[in-house]
Amino acid sequence: METKHANGDNLLTCKGVTKSYNGPIVLDNVDFSVRRGEVHALVGENGAGKSTLIKVVTGATGRNSGTITFDGEQMPLEFSRKDAQARGIACIFQELSLIPGMTVAQNIFLAKEPTIGRTRIIDKKKMNHQAQALIDKYKFPLKAEAAIDSISIAQRQLVEILKALSDNAKLMIMDEPTSSLTKTEVEMLFEIIHTLRGEGISVLYISHRMEEVYALSDRVTVLRDGKLVSILNKDMISPAEIIRLMIGHSISEKAVHHRLESKRSPVVLEVENITTVGKFENISFSLHKGEILGLGGLVGSGRTEVVRALYGIDPIDSGSVKFLGTPYVPSVKASIAAGIGFIPEERRLQGILATQTITSNIGIANLDVLAPKGVVSIRKELERAQKGISLLNVKPPDPSHLVGNLSGGNQQKVVLAKWLVRDLKLVFIDEPTVGIDIGAKEEIYEHIRKLSAEGVSILLVSSDLPELTRLADRVLVLRKGRIFHEFKDCVLTGEKILRAASGIIEEAADEA
């Protein structure tokens, strides 16, 4: 296949695209284009309109005005996702749209299964064979016959990519594809993106991670408040410049948190030898007042399982837990009553009430305070909501806004807000900044530090290594459900954590 890389050879051209959901203008006269065979990054603050632009291009939502030309053809004002797919626009959304009960092959060939002869009977053998051939062609770590439930999120994304490839996609759109991937998985995805580009497929890519954007893309489009700020050739600009364009000013990373002398402050949580079969084994640690203890490790190393068990969601088989010096049997109710909070990792599945307002979302975790006798104090509830909104800078700052209609990053802020407005003694935080833009991330870090300074103990799970190194006083690295290494009183680097997480300890051991 011949592909042209000439300048101005646009695969996708948007002119004057304007969109408003229900009043406010979300995309304002956006001119945007993607060339053939380029990797194009779309960046901007939370709520800038990135996802909306993608939804408009893929037909997931309509536009109010403006023209969209794809592959030389004008798209009608109203078109469906199916129309877009048929023309070669594929999209990997953040919630993947695979069917869990089916196999990889069945998902790839959904609604276009090969059949036996001229019948309409599905030729399973042939289908598995073709799927495996496709998998092998791109060297993906997948099995055609594996069930979707049994594979990781990263692998599911690969299935989505294959599905799109088997549809002859010309443009592959990815909305924050790396937000729930580990570093190695991200690297694999990058390689795949390079392969795709080599085949002349254009990739449009949304990310809040500047280093990725910089490593990957040929051009970068910056959106701010629904307006196009600029389209840039990457070679002509620095990451700092991109950030400045995104948020309107430059940010300086705050100095690394000084490690506090943990031995001096009293122990808040003491965990001794807890084990849950099949999840984690012999986990022991103590968490001091005002300490930020990081939990590192690969996805699946048992980090999330440990905090879930300590909060009281899943049972603990053996071992003991002490909270503030007294034996403690975790249960969600008891945890909340005792001043323990839990910020879960998957906001859509575990965090938000999409059909409810920001007020109700924040209120639901605060009913003990807002409705001590059963009747909710509407005034107090509103006050809490406003406090949460200003604390985390949720946009739009309207307490009656439905959370399902917020941008991804702002939904995450609401999930954080509903716990951070409480008076806490201890909080478990699992991947706090997934989908959060760079500027807001700094604000959230600042806030976590402030909590710690106020004496709140924090157990922080994160796959974002700089996040751990910049926030944590100590880091425990888990591997296969066990504590593999503890980093304390040393200069933490992401490198060290990553090595320990992958089971390399020599160098790390020198430090301790």
Binding site: V332, L349, Q350, L353, V376, G408
Partner: protein, 326 residues
């Protein structure tokens, strides 16, 4: 610049006003106190039942047993008063307690044994009907006393039938419970996202149990009102009313998948259907056409409320869950 989306209740009130205007132009008999009272009367039972049935619905479940339940509870009340000689007030209270217990049992199977609510309450609808047949020995029983009991349904206060007041009290109480209490918040949360609710300290099982129990109690109240209004009880007295209740809920903006709902909306929905049927009658449109019209109205309401259809400029097609960030 900012514009709020219009609440379902307000939209419904608007549609209702338009409908009333149209009907009063089309038929001079429409805007008479008698006719209006009749229409409202006919929605009393639906209003009473909806005020409780909305709870299971918002948690994402459904209570289809309420028709059989109401009929059975009428029979039970009659049993207490006229066979066992219990005073009418404790009889009614006992009946409500029994209704609540049966609801609790439904809720137990839904919450703890995780059988889909549709199946559980469909089964309950059938066996409660059976129990009603057995207890009433398959007969239609006339209730001629006690007088105060009869007066509950047939009496009037300030010129309006008593059931209207009963309904209004229940609707207001239900709206208060749903919108202003911690319990109501929790019901909404369970329907919107059970996992998130649980992590925020809500006990979804307890909320489900309570929701079905509430529906059981309002079904019992509905049964009592119906018995005293018609002065008779029999197993099929309220058969099919569950569908009318669900219709009212859907039109009123209560989502079939849970997580949102409004009892005031449901009441307006019930009134709307009643007005439509009343209008069809006044305009001498033959009865067989009525279900076609109501069916279409249900479908339109559902599509509008769930955001599949949108009326440009009216902002009717807004839906959170569906369009939520992809």
């Amino acid at each position: 610049m900012k514009r709020k989306s219009i609440p379902t209740e307000l939209k419904l009130a608007g549609v209702l006003a338009l409908l009333m205007a149209a009907l009063s132009i089309l038929s001079p008999r429409f805007l008479t106190l008698d006719n209006l009272t009749n229409v409202i009367w006919s929605v009393c039972l639906i209003g009473i039942l909806s005020s409780g049935a909305i709870y299971p619905r918002i948690t994402g479940g459904i209570d289809l047993s309420l028709g059989s339940m109401a009929a059975l509870m009428g029979i039970v009340a009659d049993l207490f008063m006229n066979k066992l000689g219990v005073h009418w007030i404790p009889s009614i209270l006992l009946t409500m307690a029994i209704g609540g217990s049966i609801g609790l049992f439904n809720g137990f199977i839904v919450a703890k044994i995780k059988v889909p609510a549709f199946v559980v309450t469909m089964a309950a609808k059938t066996y409660l009907y059976g129990v009603a047949l057995v207890v009433s020995q398959g007969a239609m029983l006339a209730i001629l006393k006690p007088q105060p009991f009869i007066a509950i349904g047939t009496g009037r206060f300030l010129g309006l039938p008593n059931p209207i007041y009963i309904m209004l009290v229940l609707v207001v109480a239900s709206q208060f419970l749903l919108k202003k209490t911690a319990f109501g918040r929790k019901v909404m949360a369970v329907g919107a996202n059970e996992v998130a609710a649980k992590l925020s300290g809500v006990d979804p099982d307890a909320i489900r149990l309570a929701s079905y129990a509430i529906s059981g109690v309002t079904s019992a109240i509905g049964g009592v009102v119906l018995a005293s209004l018609t002065q008779q009880v029999f197993a099929a007295a309220a058969s099919g009313i569950e569908l009318e209740v669900m219709t009212a809920l859907v039109i009123g903006g209560t989502s079939p998948v849970g997580g949102k709902g409004s009892i005031v909306g449901a009441l307006l929905g019930a009134i709307m259907v009643a007005f439509i049927i009343n209008g069809l009658n006044l305009l001498n449109i033959p009865a067989p056409f009525h279900p076609i019209v109501t069916g279409v109205v249900i479908l339109l309401a559902l599509l509008l409320n769930e955001g599949h259809l949108s009326i440009r400029g009216l902002g009717l097609g807004r839906s959170a869950g569906r369009q939520a960030s992809i």
